[in-house]
C-alpha cells in the first residue's frame, strides 16, 4: 500500500513536505495513501475546497506532537506548524467562522451548539457564551481576539492537548 502511494508521490515533493511539516518519510507515504483513499474524485483534491495533498499535510502537521529536538531550535527559523501558537491558531480559526480574527458571540454559540448537542436550551447556551466572552474579553469589544484566546489558555497544556500520535 505504502509503495503504491509513494510511486504516485514524487520524491522531491516528499522532501518538500517533509521540510515543511516535519513528518517522516514513512508517515508521509502512509498519509498519502490515506489521502488517496479519501480522494473519491481521484483528482488529487478533497471536496469542493480543493484541498490538495500539500494542504492536507499542512493541516495534519498542526497536530504533530512537539519533539524534544524541536524545542530548542534556533529562533530565527520560521515557526514550525506544530508550535503552540499554530496549534492555538488552528483552534481559533475553528471558532472564527467568518475569519475576521475575532470570535463573536454568535460564532461561539454556533460552535457550542455543535459541541453540546440538544441537551441544552438556547438560553443556557447563551449565558455560557456570554460568560465565556466576558471572561476572555480584555478590551471590551465583546468578542475574543486571538491574543485574548492565547491569554485565556495560557495555563493549558496545549502542546499536549492538541497533539495526536501519528504512526511512524
Amino acid at each position: 500500500m505504502g509503495s503504491r502511494a509513494s510511486t504516485l508521490l514524487r520524491e522531491e515533493e516528499i522532501e518538500e513536505i517533509k521540510k515543511e511539516t516535519g513528518f517522516s518519510h514513512s508517515q508521509i507515504t502512509r498519509l498519502y495513501s490515506r489521502f488517496t483513499s479519501l480522494d473519491k474524485g481521484e483528482n488529487g483534491t478533497l471536496r469542493e475546497d480543493q484541498v490538495n495533498f500539500r494542504g492536507f499535510m499542512r493541516t495534519l502537521a498542526h497536530f504533530r506532537p512537539i519533539e524534544d529536538n524541536e524545542k530548542n531550535k534556533n529562533p530565527t527559523a520560521s515557526e514550525p506548524l506544530n508550535s503552540r501558537t499554530n496549534k492555538l491558531l488552528f483552534a481559533f480559526h475553528l471558532y472564527d467562522l467568518d475569519r475576521d480574527d475575532k470570535i463573536s458571540r454568535d460564532e461561539l454559540l454556533q460552535v457550542l451548539r455543535m459541541m453540546v448537542g440538544v441537551n441544552i436550551s438556547d438560553e443556557q447556551l447563551g449565558s455560557i457564551a456570554d460568560r465565556t466572552i466576558q471572561e476572555a474579553d480584555t478590551n471590551g469589544d465583546n468578542s475574543i481576539s486571538f491574543n485574548e484566546f492565547i491569554k485565556v489558555l495560557e495555563k493549558v497544556d496545549v502542546e499536549q492537548k492538541m497533539s495526536i500520535r501519528f504512526l511512524h
Binding site: 483552534a91 453540546v116 441544552i120 456570554d130 474579553d137 489558555l153 495526536i164 500520535r165
Partner: protein, 892 residues
C-alpha cells in the same frame, strides 16, 4: 489482638488488691471499647502531629505514625512482656485495605487515569513481574554465593515467593507519601495507578508460588507455569469485571433513590465494599475490583445522588481511609517491636534493600524507554527518578509475609524481619527524602486551580478536533476509541444508569453552573456581599459585561484560591485554609442568605430528609408575597385615619429597639428628603445577624402589641427589594461605602418586586398574583425596568404605615441580605402625620386575623388574638387602593 488486649486490661485491673471487677462489665464492652480507644489514640496522634505545621512539612505523617507505633509497641511490650497487638492479615485485608482502596478508586480522576492507562498497566504488570523475578533470582544467587547466612533455609521457590511479595509497590504507602509531595498529575497517577493495579500481579504470583512451595519445586511441571499465566489473566480480568458489574449495579440503584435520599451514601459504601468482598470470595483481585467499581460508578453515582449525599460519601470515605491508614502505620510500628517473630540476617536484609532499589530503577528506566517511543508526552528523566524513588513498600507486603506458613516456608522469620526493614526503610527514609528530592530536581508540581469556563469549553473543543483529525488521518488512536466510548456511554450506559432528569442535562451547563457557584462563594468569602455574587451566580444575568472588575476579581480568586486536588486522601490541599473558608462561607451564608422562618420545626422522619431548600423557599416566597400584598392593601386604607396614637406607640417601639438616638435622625432625614430614606438606615445599621433573626418572626397580629412589631414590617422588607433601584440617583455617595449598593443599576432578582407591582384589589387577585410570582422564581429575574414607579411610591407608602407582620428575615435566596438589611434600616418611622393610620390598622387587623391564620397555619403560633380582617379585604376594595402611588409621595 482483642482478646489479648482484654486480658491485659483485666490483668491490670486485678493486679491491684480488692479489684473492682465485679462492677466492671469489661468483658462485655471489651472489643468495641478497645477498637474505639485505638481509633481515638490514632486520631489524637494525628492532631498532635499537625500542631507543628513546620514539622509536618518536613516529616511525612506516615513516618510519624510508624514512630508512634514503635513507641506504643514498646510500652505494651514492657508492660506485658509480650506483644499483644499485631497487624493481623484478616483485619488488614478485610477492613483496613478496602477503605483505602475504595476511597482511592472512587475519587480516582478517571480521565487522567485512562489517559495514562497504557503506562500504568505496563509498570504495574511488566514492572512488577520484572522486580519479582529479578529480586528472587538475585537473592537466590546471593544465597549460593554465601552472602546470605546458612541459617536462612530457603531455596529458589522461597526466594521467588519472597521476591513477589516484596516487589509490589504499596498503594497505602504511596498515597501517604505522595499526597504530601504534590508532584504533577501525570507522575502521580502513574505511580499511584501502578501501585493499585500491581495488586493483581502480586496476588497471583504469591498464590502461584505458595502452591508451588506446597507441592515442592520438583513436582512443578511446565503446564503449571502456563496455569500460572492463565490464573493471572483470570484474576486480573475477573477482578475488573466483578468491579464493573458492581459499578453498573450501583449506578442503576442510585437511579431510583430519589425518595430515600438518606440511604444513598450507604448504597455507595455497601456496593463498593461488596465488590471487594466478592472478588475476594472468588480469589480474584479484590483491589482491582474495588478500584474499577469506584472509577466506573463515580460518574453516574455523583450525577444521581443529591448534593448532601455527595458530601456525605466524600467525607465518610475520606474519614475512613484516613483512619485506616493511621491504624495501618501505627500497627506496622507496633508489630516491628515484637522480637519473637524476628530473625535477623544482615546479608538478607542488605541484599534485599539493594536489589529492590536497583531493580526498581532499572525496570523504570527500561520500561520508560520503551513507553516513550509510544507516548505522546514522553516521561522525562526527573520523572523516572521520582518514579524509581517512589517505589514504596508497605503494609500489603507485611500482611502477605505474616500470612506465610512457617511450617512450609522455613525462613519465614527472616523474611518477616527483612520485610519490616524494607517497609521501614522505604516509608521512613525514602518518604522523608522524597520531598527534598522533588524540590531539588524541580519536578513540575501539580497546579492547584480550577478550570475557567473558557478552558472547559476549549478543552472540549480540542477533544473534538483531535477525534476528527484522527479520523481524517485514518488513525484509530486513543481519541478515536475515547470518542467511541463516549458515544456508547451516551447512547446506552448513561441512559440506563442516569436519572432521566440528570440525563437530559448538559455537562457543559453543569460545569458552567459549578463555576458560577464557585465564583459566588469566593466572592462572598472575600468579604464581598451577596448582591455582587448573586449577579455572578445567576445564569440569567446576561449583561454582566458592564461589571468587568467583578469578573476579574473572581478570576483572580480562582487562580489563587483553593484549587483542584489530585490527592485522593485529602479533601482539599490547603486544609487550614479550607476549614477557614468553610466556616467563613457558612457564617456569611448564614447571615446573608434566606432564613427559614420555621426553624423550630424539627424533622423526625428517618426516611426523609427535610424538605428541599428550594421547595421551602418557594413556599416561603409564596407566603411572603401573600402577606406583602395584604400589607400594601392595608396600607392604602390606613391613610385616611388619624395618627395620634401611632406617635406614642412608635416611641415604644423605638425604646424597644436598641437603636438609641438613631431613630430620631432617621426621622428628620425622612422628613426632609423622602428619597434618601431607604438608604440612610442602611448606612447606620450594618447587618446584624442576631437582629435579623429577630426579624425573622412572622405575622403577629395582636392589636395591642402591634406597634412593637411594626418596625420590622413587611413594607420595610419590600423597600429592601425596591429601594436600591428606586432611589438610585441619590445613592452614589453611599455606594462607595456600601459595596452592596454598587449594583444599583440592576435590581436583584427579587420576587417581591414583581409581586408588588400591582396593587391587589381583592383577595382573589392577590392570590393569583402570588401564584404568578411564584412562577416567576423559576423564570429569569426581571431586568432593571422591573421597578415600577408605582412600586417605588408604594414602598414609601408602606414604610409610612404600621403593619401587623414582620418579614421573615429576608427575601429570596441570594438577594435576601438586601431585604434584611433594609428592613432593619426601617425600624423607625416618621413620627408625625401617621396617627390616623393606627386607628384603621387596629380595626382592620382585628377583622383579618381568622382568615390569615387559616392561610398561614404555621405562623399562627405567634398569633395570639383572632381578628377578622380578610373578610373586609374580600368585600370592598379599599378607597385609596386604586391610586396609592399618587398619594404616597404627597403624604411624605
Amino acid at each position: 489482638a482483642r482478646p489479648l488486649g482484654g486480658r491485659l486490661w483485666s490483668m491490670l485491673l486485678c493486679s491491684r488488691p480488692g479489684c473492682v471487677r465485679g462492677t466492671w462489665e469489661w468483658s462485655y464492652v471489651q472489643t468495641p471499647y478497645i477498637i474505639a480507644i485505638w481509633l481515638l489514640v490514632a486520631s489524637v496522634a494525628k492532631i498532635l502531629f499537625h500542631f507543628s505545621q513546620r514539622f509536618i512539612t518536613v516529616v511525612p505523617e506516615s513516618c510519624m505514625l510508624i514512630l508512634l507505633g514503635l513507641v506504643l509497641g514498646g510500652v505494651v511490650l514492657m508492660a506485658s512482656k509480650k506483644q499483644l497487638y499485631q497487624l493481623e492479615p484478616a483485619l488488614f485485608f478485610l477492613f483496613l485495605l478496602p477503605t483505602i482502596v475504595g476511597d482511592a478508586g472512587y475519587f480516582m480522576p478517571a480521565r487522567l487515569f485512562f489517559d495514562n492507562l497504557g503506562a500504568i498497566l505496563t509498570y504495574a504488570v511488566v514492572g512488577t513481574l520484572w522486580n519479582a523475578f529479578c529480586t528472587g533470582f538475585c537473592l537466590y544467587t546471593a544465597k549460593l554465593l554465601g552472602v546470605i547466612d546458612e541459617r536462612v533455609q530457603a531455596d529458589l521457590m522461597d526466594f521467588l515467593l519472597f521476591g513477589a511479595l516484596i516487589s509490589a509497590v504499596d498503594p497505602v504507602a504511596v498515597l501517604a507519601v505522595f499526597e504530601e509531595v504534590h508532584v504533577n498529575d501525570t507522575l502521580f497517577i502513574i505511580v499511584f495507578g501502578e501501585s493499585l493495579l500491581n495488586d493483581a500481579v502480586t496476588v497471583v504470583l504469591y498464590k502461584v508460588y505458595i502452591s508451588f512451595v506446597e507441592v515442592g519445586a520438583e513436582n512443578v511441571h511446565t503446564a503449571d507455569y502456563f496455569k500460572g499465566v492463565a490464573s493471572f489473566l483470570i484474576v486480573s480480568v475477573g477482578g475488573t469485571l466483578v468491579g464493573l458489574v458492581f459499578a453498573i449495579i450501583l449506578g442503576f440503584i442510585t437511579r431510583f433513590t430519589k425518595k430515600v435520599r438518606i440511604i444513598e451514601p450507604l448504597f455507595v459504601f455497601l456496593l463498593v465494599y461488596l465488590a471487594y468482598l466478592t472478588a475476594e470470595l472468588f480469589s480474584l483481585s479484590a483491589i482491582l475490583s474495588m478500584t474499577f467499581c469506584g472509577i466506573g460508578a463515580n460518574k453516574y453515582v455523583e450525577a444521581n445522588i443529591s448534593q448532601k449525599s455527595r458530601t456525605t460519601v466524600k467525607y465518610t470515605m475520606k474519614t475512613l481511609a484516613s483512619i485506616a491508614e493511621t491504624i495501618i502505620f501505627i500497627f506496622l510500628g507496633i508489630s516491628a517491636v515484637d522480637k519473637s517473630k524476628w530473625a535477623w540476617d544482615t546479608g538478607l536484609v542488605s541484599c534485599t534493600l539493594v536489589f529492590i532499589f536497583v531493580f526498581r530503577a532499572v525496570g523504570v528506566i527500561g520500561q520508560t524507554w520503551v513507553l516513550n517511543r509510544v507516548r505522546l508526552v514522553p516521561l522525562e528523566k526527573i520523572d523516572q527518578v521520582v518514579m524509581s524513588y517512589g517505589g514504596l513498600r508497605g503494609a500489603v507486603a507485611f500482611a502477605l509475609v505474616v500470612l506465610l506458613d512457617g511450617e512450609r516456608v522455613k525462613a519465614k522469620d527472616y523474611f518477616v524481619a527483612t520485610t519490616i526493614v524494607v517497609v521501614f526503610f522505604t516509608v521512613m527514609f525514602q518518604g522523608l527524602t522524597i520531598k527534598p528530592l522533588v524540590k531539588w530536581l524541580r519536578v513540575p508540581r501539580s497546579t492547584s486551580r480550577k478550570l475557567t469556563i473558557n478552558e472547559e469549553i476549549h478543552e472540549r473543543a480540542f477533544d473534538h478536533i483531535l477525534t476528527a483529525v484522527e479520523d481524517i488521518a485514518g488513525l484509530q488512536g486513543y481519541h478515536h476509541w475515547r470518542d467511541k466510548w463516549e458515544q456508547f456511554d451516551k447512547n446506552y450506559l448513561s441512559k440506563l444508569l442516569l436519572r432521566k432528569s440528570v440525563y437530559r442535562k448538559s455537562e457543559l451547563w453543569e460545569a458552567y453552573q459549578k463555576i458560577n457557584i464557585r465564583d459566588a462563594i469566593s466572592v462572598i468569602d472575600q468579604g464581598g456581599n451577596v448582591l455582587t455574587s448573586a449577579r455572578l451566580s445567576l445564569p440569567s444575568m446576561a449583561s454582566r459585561a458592564s461589571f468587568p472588575e467583578v469578573t476579574n476579581v473572581t478570576n483572580y480568586l480562582r487562580e489563587n484560591g483553593s484549587g483542584v486536588c489530585l490527592d485522593l486522601q485529602v479533601i482539599d490541599n490547603v486544609p487550614g485554609a479550607k476549614v477557614e473558608e468553610d466556616t467563613e462561607t457558612h457564617h456569611v451564608l448564614a447571615e446573608n442568605l434566606y432564613k427559614p422562618r420555621r426553624r423550630y420545626q424539627s424533622h423526625y422522619s428517618r426516611h426523609f430528609m427535610p424538605l428541599g431548600e428550594k421547595e421551602r423557599q418557594d413556599r416561603e416566597v409564596f407566603q411572603r408575597n401573600m402577606r406583602s400584598r395584604m400589607e400594601n392593601f392595608k396600607s392604602t386604607r390606613y391613610k385616611h385615619h388619624k395618627k395620634e396614637r401611632s406617635l406614642k406607640k412608635r416611641r415604644g417601639s423605638d425604646t424597644k429597639d436598641d437603636g438609641s438616638d438613631k431613630p430620631r435622625r432617621n426621622v428628620s432625614s425622612q422628613d426632609k428628603d423622602p428619597m434618601l430614606v431607604p438608604v440612610e438606615p442602611q448606612v447606620e445599621k450594618p447587618l446584624d445577624p442576631e437582629k435579623e433573626e429577630d426579624v425573622g418572626i412572622t405575622f403577629v397580629a395582636r392589636k395591642a402589641e402591634t406597634p412593637k412589631q411594626r418596625p420590622k414590617s413587611v413594607p420595610a422588607a419590600l423597600d429592601g427589594c425596591q429601594s436600591p433601584s428606586a432611589v438610585s440617583p441619590t445613592l452614589s455617595s453611599e455606594a462607595s461605602h456600601l459595596p452592596w449598593k454598587g449594583s444599583v443599576g440592576l435590581p436583584p432578582p427579587c420576587v417581591s418586586v414583581e409581586a408588588t407591582k400591582i396593587i391587589p384589589v381583592d383577595l382573589q387577585q392577590a392570590w393569583n398574583q402570588s401564584i404568578s410570582s411564584l412562577e416567576s422564581i423559576s423564570s429569569p429575574p426581571a431586568p432593571a425596568e422591573s421597578v415600577h414607579p408605582r412600586v417605588n411610591a408604594l414602598s414609601r407608602l408602606g414604610r409610612s404605615r404600621p403593619t401587623s407582620y414582620t418579614p421573615p428575615g429576608s427575601v429570596v435566596g441570594s438577594t435576601s441580605s438586601i431585604g434584611a438589611q433594609v428592613s432593619q434600616g426601617f425600624f423607625h418611622y416618621p413620627e408625625k402625620k401617621k396617627e390616623e393610620e393606627e386607628e384603621e390598622e387596629g380595626s382592620t387587623l382585628q377583622e383579618m386575623q381568622p382568615l390569615m391564620s387559616s392561610l398561614w397555619p404555621p405562623s399562627s403560633g405567634r398569633t395570639r388574638k383572632p381578628c377578622v380582617y380578610l373578610r373586609s379585604l374580600v368585600i370592598p376594595p379599599p378607597p385609596g387602593g386604586s391610586e396609592p402611588h399618587s398619594r404616597g409621595p404627597t403624604q411624605l
